[in-house]
């Protein structure tokens, strides 16, 4: 699954720039969600068996299959809900407290 396309969105300045009725081009996002997390999922690749259960249950679709037959997390869009860690049958995912030093 590809990363969502990020498009810059600027609020209209004039009423003429509003679409006619609530209808607009689709298929993109306008911001990343990485700032929402307190904890982030870290996958222990040695333990991961590539069963893809986390890939299936992630509500935001931010876990991707890698060429090595394992998984990786798209940290731009992961919100840290922890469902993947909870569901992993092999305890290969740990929720680690995010350090917010920027």
């Amino acid at each position: 699954m590809d990363k969502p396309e990020l498009k810059n969105f600027t609020k209209p300045e004039s009423i003429k720039d509003y679409p006619v009725g609530p209808s607009f081009s689709g298929g993109h996002l306008v911001s990343v969600n990485s700032g929402w997390r307190t904890f982030k999922p870290v996958v222990a690749l040695d333990t991961c068996t590539g069963c893809y259960r986390c890939y299936l249950v992630c509500p935001d679709g931010v876990i991707v299959k890698t060429e090595a037959g394992k998984v990786a997390v798209d940290y731009d869009f992961c919100k840290g809900c922890g469902v993947c860690a909870h569901e992993c049958p092999f305890d290969a995912i740990e929720m680690v407290k995010e350090d917010l030093q920027k």
């Binding site: 609020k11 209209p12 300045e13 609530p22």
Partner: protein
Amino acid sequence: MMHNHKNESVFVSGDEAVALGVRLSRPHVISAYPITPQTIVVERLSEMVEDGSLVARYIHVESEHSAMSAAMGASSVGARAFTATSSQGLLYMAEGLHYASGGRMPIVMMNANRSLALPWSIFGDHRDSMSMLDSGWIQVYVEDAQEALDMTIQAYRIAEDSSVLTPLMINLDGFILTHTYELVEVPPQEEVDSYLPPFSTPNKMSLEDPKSMGFSTSPADNMEFKYQQHKAMMDSREVIKQADKEYAEIFGRSYNGLIDCYQCDNAEYILVTAGSVTGTARVAVDSMRSKGIKAGVLRIRFMRPFPEQEVRNTLAGAASYGVLDKDISFGYEGTMFTNVNSALSGTAHIPRGINFIGGLGGRDISVQDIEEMFEALRLCPAHDYTEYRKNRIRFVNMGVSIHE
């Protein structure tokens, strides 16, 4: 503040205050379908029925159309009925509203004022209830959670009065009132029982006195029934005032009847409002007064029956008046503005009026926005007629430029 030591003080939302008022009113039947931002009302009521503190039949229906139908069924056997809704739900039960009022069923319903799709919006404005003004329901707009609780009790008293027998809709601003927490005094059950007698009506199915109910009419009789409804609604004005007066005697709180004025007595510029935005307007009035500008706010409590005499008398001496509508009848003007203007029709001197359309879809209305409205009212009497007419309908606090 109330000094009744038997009152319980609680810190609750507008929705919770309605639920508390409903429990005190001892309804027999509650038909419920949830919709944001009314959900807390029906959820609290279900908890109360579950824990036994409210003895009522709670019917969880599958839609708002059914919620109104179930309430009508209950009312038609002489049961006191309650339901609640908002926005899309109110419109879904629209034909039921006319059924209930035409059937002279004194159902009480809480409506959480919320915008109507499209665009889809969960946020508050008055478009839902204002679009149902012709449905034959008495409509009151409350300002705070205390009034919401008090009016729930008064609603049954007014609706069930034998000269009225008309359903009543209590409107609370979505989120701004339904989900805002404030201090409320809850009166004791015994006092409410002394104020609100049990429901009694001639219009009920009965084995002892069988009735034919909900029949149709030919052109020969329809207008007579409609005239009756209109007369009952007109007569309800006195009942409303009396209900308020007696409520004050027992509970110590009065809301001054059909309208509620703040600083209108010597006001030159009066803003007409409905609902909780009035609270913000009061602060703006104080601010204008401190600058020497004689501002006042006229809160319309009941949109139906419309307090045309009170509105006319209050606005008569003003230099100009504004009407803050959280609604717009597309292609013309805001609904309250239309109603107010009609009340002034025929008077010797009609002050200039400006319609401020604001708050649609939950757009914030600030103290500053209202101060700017008063400023516009101050300036408009001096404009020439064409200039005034061109700018008579103004959209407030728009996020973009709307000029060509």
